[in-house]
């Protein structure tokens, strides 16, 4: 056949085919390449035929996968050969070997242009084909007008014009300016009248590209497209050779409908009606037939029609017809149709109102998820992901989890990521979320990105209710024999932090928990060991009373057994040394190894990642929309404020004094402390005064209302100044997992801590974030108070839409003076707030504050420190005053007695200090029993005026967790309220940052607890 005369090439191909192995093939190829190189070098005596033959051989060798780094010039030079056979080879081989960026191609531009503008039709075809296939920007600039001329020429035959159309399309892609010609749109419209379907098909491809870029210029093409579609769909006047398996050019139909999808809408009612009739015809008239090719072709048209219907936003009836069709497709056995059915259903989700009808197919879609064909699984997964909402999340996520067992491993990563995102977005409850993620890690640990387990830790840390559950689950998983390393990490972390919450359950003693974790140590890598060491240190710290055996065991690990002290890995070494040193410090450890503070709320890094990854903008917007409908659970949980009369956790100030010496002990280990402190928040402040680690706070001089109370504090500040870390610096490698995103405004410092501090003193910072600082200064006189709010703008641009609203409880009368709408840059405004106490109550006033900075609308609800103890005046009494009154107030409701259990154990002087800090004066020596306390105070309110309150607390030295408390006053409400108030201080441990369920923190806290914050200490004691 056609191979006459090229015997050399045939022989070479046969040789290659006869090669027994790759090595032989390489030898043969090298020999040939050497030969070709020599022949090309000599040039002389090389006939056009020889050149042609060698160039073909080069292409063949190139196809075999060998580098052909010479001879390109010879191929390009053949383009300028005068005769067709050589020219043809030159064009074809050049367009195969080179790409548009190749330098040699530039050399050919002139020759190519000459062929295009020349009179030889076959040369024109060759040149247009080359430019159409590999033409670059330079070709676009120099050849576009010539190509346009050919396309529009009436004297050119269709075979040239259709090539010119696609050639122009290529040039347009390289440089859209090539069609910036007057009247080009009109010419395009005329082109659509073309009778030759080859030219029309090529022109339609060109039109698709043009309208996708600028539909407005080509609106006159729209009715023509509809006409073409109508003619084809109804098979009117279509030559036999252009029907494909009985279908009038399916390709042209598809392209025409594609072009129509770039027009936003169809205004002309007649055109619109005609189009819908045609579409209806296509939707109804497509049947499944036996012949594969006919089937494919007709469904290619049908799917394009579906896309056009979706685009045109057809009437409901037609839409439901589409959903019904797709529902049929996803149930068929033919894999191509099923694949496309799933894909188009996913696209359809963007169209409103179909979500519900698509949900009906959920079972069918899940069947496809388990298809052996990974392409189909992917479509099914995408669809399930897209259709998931709060109603079906549980089912879908559980299906995904189940599918993890059998899924193709190339899908595991995507599958687990999607499952994790859905679990996070739509979790009906948090324990379910934890279950899902742990299962994910168990089943696909290798494919789980660290983000996912970091996030679990974040959720657990931020939700106190979840902690015991998570700890129990973690233990369950670690108990299993073969555990994925990621599972070891997450479980060890959770157990380190929270296993003490399980201490009473069987098998959960510190010792047992430790051995479960430690069992895994030999099998984990060096990146996990530091996490285990942290867990050991925390377990050891939580073991109260200390367990000598366990302590020795852990110390041995830190020092000898695994020689971490001299471990080559700096991280392990440092932790071992530090934990060992710390764990010998006794109480001071509590400061440093206390529970991790809550994480600030941010946009989920997972969801963010998913959004970034979504290339499909439509899907992205749908995703965002759903994300908005479904706020993160954590946000919901933490967004509570105690205006409902919940008991208030109140800060215990005196303890800080007691603890201060401990801090001094650490001075000579300051470097160690610094590093460790990073693990647990920040050492930047040691006093209960709200920290001002933010460098910006200096700008607001006037707000630093009160200096640090003593020199010690000054000293401590300087001791830790090396930290300079700001609230967010944490040991990124091991403990704090979540990347810092700054999408939402985070408060600086812990709002709850600040509030409790202000309950005990009268001035300080109530709230701070990157934009604003709110300070408070208060004066109290009897039942009246005057607070001043200092609103300081920290930025160089104004804060606008500032609003402050006081939500007072019933017992307080509060009047806030006018708050300006705008706070100028770096300015501070003062807003006085008058408070009158009407009657005794523990309810708390809330400040609802909002402002706008740039595009950020920030709204915060802050408790105001106008609390019960502010209306007390300590009143030391003598025995003569005390006993007559005590006796006269006999029995309820004026005198109430209660045995309080679960009291935080503390020494008597400590308790006295505690009461004193709430302005209740101790009268020593009144009670003959040294284990009892007697105290008194005066309460002021408008209704009650001044009332004396008497307190007696009887403690049991054998059991410090219980006591009996007796309260007496002339007002039953006061007696009750004050009793409850004191009880709260004694019992509900004011775990400021980790408040237990009754009083969740008022706002998302941040990792910043003053290190001798009693709250931090006390949590650890429990």
């Amino acid at each position: 056949m056609a191979m006459h005369g090229m015997r050399g090439l045939s022989i070479f191909i046969s040789d290659i085919r006869n090669c027994q192995n790759k090595e032989q093939e390489r030898l043969r190829v090298d020999k040939e390449l050497g030969n070709i190189r020599n022949r090309f070098k000599k040039e002389k005596g090389l006939t056009p035929y020889d050149k042609k033959k060698y160039v073909w051989k080069m292409l063949y060798i190139y196809m075999l996968g060998y580098d052909v780094d010479f001879g390109h010039m010879e191929a390009v030079s053949l383009i300028s050969a005068p005769k067709y056979p050589e020219k043809q080879v030159g064009y074809i081989v050049t367009s195969c070997l080179l790409n548009e960026n190749h330098d040699f191609l530039r050399l050919a531009i002139n020759t190519v242009r000459n062929d295009i503008i020349g009179q030889n039709e076959t040369f024109q075809c060759l040149a247009l084909t080359l430019v159409g296939n590999i033409g670059g920007r330079e070709f676009a600039e120099s050849l576009a007008p010539d190509v346009q001329k050919l396309l529009l020429s009436s004297s050119c035959r269709p075979l040239v014009r259709k090539k010119a159309a696609l050639c122009l399309l290529r040039l347009f892609r390289k440089n859209p300016d090539v069609v910036n010609v007057d009247g080009w749109a009109d010419r395009m419209t005329q082109l659509l009248d073309e009778r030759d379907l080859g030219v029309l098909t090529s022109s339609m491809s060109l039109l698709v590209a043009l309208v996708s870029n600028n539909h407005e210029a080509y609106w006159t093409c729209l009715p023509k497209c509809v006409k073409i579609l109508e003619r084809l769909a109804r098979n009117q006047d279509v030559p036999q050779e252009y029907t494909y398996y009985g279908i009038p050019s399916p390709w042209l139909q598809v392209k025409t409908m594609r072009a129509l999808q770039y027009f936003p809408t169809i205004e002309d009612p007649n055109t619109r009606r005609t189009l819908f009739e045609v579409l209806q015809w296509i939707l109804m008239g497509t049947d499944v037939v036996k012949n594969v090719n006919k089937n494919n072709a007709s469904h290619a048209v049908l799917f394009e029609a579906l896309a056009l219907v979706m685009h045109l936003d057809a009437e409901k009836e037609m839409m439901s017809q589409c959903v019904a069709l797709l529902g049929k497709f996803i149930a068929v056995r033919e894999p191509n149709i099923r694949y496309l059915g799933l894909e188009n259903m996913t696209r359809m989700l963007i169209v409103a109102d179909v979500q519900e009808s698509i949900k009906r197919h959920q079972a069918q879609i899940i069947t496809s998820l388990k298809d052996p064909d990974i392409s189909i699984c992917r479509r099914a997964l995408d669809l399930l992901y897209g259709m998931c909402d709060i109603t079906n999340a549980k089912d879908i996520v559980e299906e995904l989890l189940q599918y993890l067992n059998s899924a193709d491993f190339t899908m595991l990563e995507e599958l687990s990521l999607k499952a994790a995102i859905l679990a996070e977005k739509f979790a009906p409850d948090l324990s379910w979320y934890v279950d899902v993620i742990l299962q994910l890690i168990e089943k696909a640990g290798d494919f789980i990105s660290d983000d996912i387990w970091f996030h679990v830790v974040q959720f657990v840390t931020n939700n106190d209710d979840l902690q015991p559950y998570a700890a129990a689950k973690a233990k369950e998983y670690l108990d299993k024999p073969a555990v994925d390393e990621k599972m070891v990490k997450v479980c060890a972390y959770i157990l380190g932090e929270y296993s003490h919450l399980l201490a009473r359950r069987p098998g959960c003693s510190p010792k047992e928990i430790f051995s479960i974790i430690h069992e895994k140590l030999p099998s984990v890598s060096t990146t996990t060991i530091p996490l285990l060491l942290s867990a050991y240190a925390k377990i050891l710290m939580h073991t109260q009373p200390p367990d000598q055996v366990l302590q020795n065991q852990i110390w041995t690990i830190f020092t000898k057994e695994l020689r971490y002290e001299s471990c080559i890995d700096a991280e392990i070494q440092q932790r071992a040394v530090e934990y060992f040193a710390l764990s010998r410090k006794g109480a001071a450890v509590m400061d440093i190894l206390g529970e991790m503070p809550k994480f600030p709320e941010r946009q989920s890094s997972l969801i963010k990642k998913a959004e970034d990854a979504e290339a499909d903008t439509a899907e992205q917007s749908a995703l965002k929309l759903r994300a908005q409908q479904q706020p993160s659970n954590a946000l919901v949980v933490t967004d509570q404020h105690p205006s409902n009369g919940e008991p208030l956790p109140v800060f215990v100030g005196q303890l800080s004094v007691v603890k201060a010496p401990n801090m001094n002990n650490t001075e000579d280990h300051s470097s160690t402390e610094q590093v460790l402190s990073q693990e647990n928040g920040n050492l930047s402040q040691v006093d209960q005064q709200p920290p001002s680690a933010d460098p910006l706070s200096d700008l607001l001089g006037p707000l630093a209302i009160e200096g640090p109370p003593g020199a010690t504090v000054q000293y401590e500040n300087s001791a830790v100044s090396g930290l300079e870390s700001g609230p967010d610096v944490v040991d990124g490698s091991a403990i704090v997992p979540v990347e810092v995103g700054t999408n939402t405004i985070q408060p600086i410092g812990n709002i709850a801590v600040r509030f409790h501090a202000l309950c005990l003193k009268d001035s300080g910072v109530l709230y701070e974030d990157p934009y604003i600082q709110i300070g408070i200064k208060a004066e109290w006189r009897a039942h009246q108070g005057r607070l001043v709010l200092f609103l300081g703008n920290k930025n160089t641009s104004p804060l606008v839409s500032v609003q402050a609203l006081i939500l007072p409880p019933a017992h307080l009368k509060m009047e806030l003076s006018l708050v300006p709408d705008t706070i100028p840059p770096r300015a501070q405004v003062q807003c006085p707030l008058e408070v009158v106490n009407l009657r005794p109550s523990r309810d708390v006033a809330v400040l609802d504050f909002s402002y706008k900075f740039g595009t950020h609308m920030v709204n915060i609800k802050l408790r105001l420190p106008a609390v019960l103890n502010k209306f007390l005046q300590p009143l030391p009494v003598s025995a003569e005053e005390f006993f007559p009154q005590w006796r006269s107030l006999s029995g309820p409701p004026l005198k109430l007695q209660e045995v309080v259990r679960g009291v935080r154990p503390m020494a008597l002087p400590e308790m006295a200090n505690l009461l004193h800090s709430y302005r209740i004066a101790i009268s020593p020596g009144l009670d003959p029993n040294p284990n009892n306390l007697v105290a008194s105070t005066t309460f002021y309110s408008e209704n009650t005026r001044a009332i004396v309150c008497l307190v007696r607390i009887e403690t049991d030295p054998a059991d410090r967790t219980q006591l009996r408390m007796t309260l007496a006053s002339g007002d039953p409400t006061l007696t009750f309220e004050l009793k409850e108030f004191i009880k709260e201080q004694l019992v509900s441990i004011p775990t400021v940052a980790q408040a237990p369920t009754p009083a969740p923190p008022a706002a998302p806290p941040t990792p910043q607890i003053p290190p001798n914050d009693p709250a931090a200490l006390l949590t650890d004691l429990l």
């Binding site: 290529r170 090719n293 052996p372 392409s375």
Partner: protein, 161 residues
């Protein structure tokens, strides 16, 4: 648009490559390797589409040969599948019951035909008859040229005698 066309044998030998988007030599080799691994391992009776690097590869196996075309995600897959078949039918018509060997020894013909079918990654001619006619016309051009050459050679040879 079609970014590239690949013909790969069941053993992973490349029989034809045509690139409409600019890929460097290195990328081309990598693409071929990746896709061979992805497609040749797929069992029968699966769908004809493979998702790859954010693109779709539509492929179909004819005897021992896989025809693959890579397109954008939102292109019409079935349309491309039938372009493949259209190409195969034209090859079949040209060679008369085409087999892999035809394409090995006449790979340049496969390129000629493909160039009549696709330009710029778009279909240029939906009519098989037209394509076959045009390729035949090219062949006869080559033949004519050769006859002329040989007749000239003969004349020269004659004259030289």
């Amino acid at each position: 648009m079609i970014h590239f066309v690949l013909l790969i044998s069941r053993q992973g030998k490349v029989r034809l490559t045509k690139w409409y988007s600019p890929y460097s030599q290195k990328e081309r080799t990598k693409v071929i390797r990746e896709l061979s691994g992805l497609i040749l391992t797929r069992g029968p009776k699966l769908c004809n589409f493979v998702e790859w690097r954010g693109l779709r590869v539509v492929y179909k196996r004819y005897a021992s040969l896989y025809f693959c075309m890579c397109i954008d995600e939102d292109d019409n897959e079935l349309e491309i599948l039938e372009i493949i078949h259209h190409y195969v039918e034209v090859l079949d018509r040209y060679f008369g019951s085409v087999c892999e060997l035809d394409l090995i020894y006449n790979f340049h013909k496969a390129y000629f035909i493909l160039d009549e079918l696709l330009i710029a990654g778009e279909l240029q001619e939906p009519s098989k008859r037209t394509v076959t006619r045009l390729v035949a016309a090219q062949d006869s051009l080559v033949e004519t040229a050769k006859e002329q050459t040989s007749s000239i050679t003969n004349i020269i040879a004659q004259a030289a005698k």
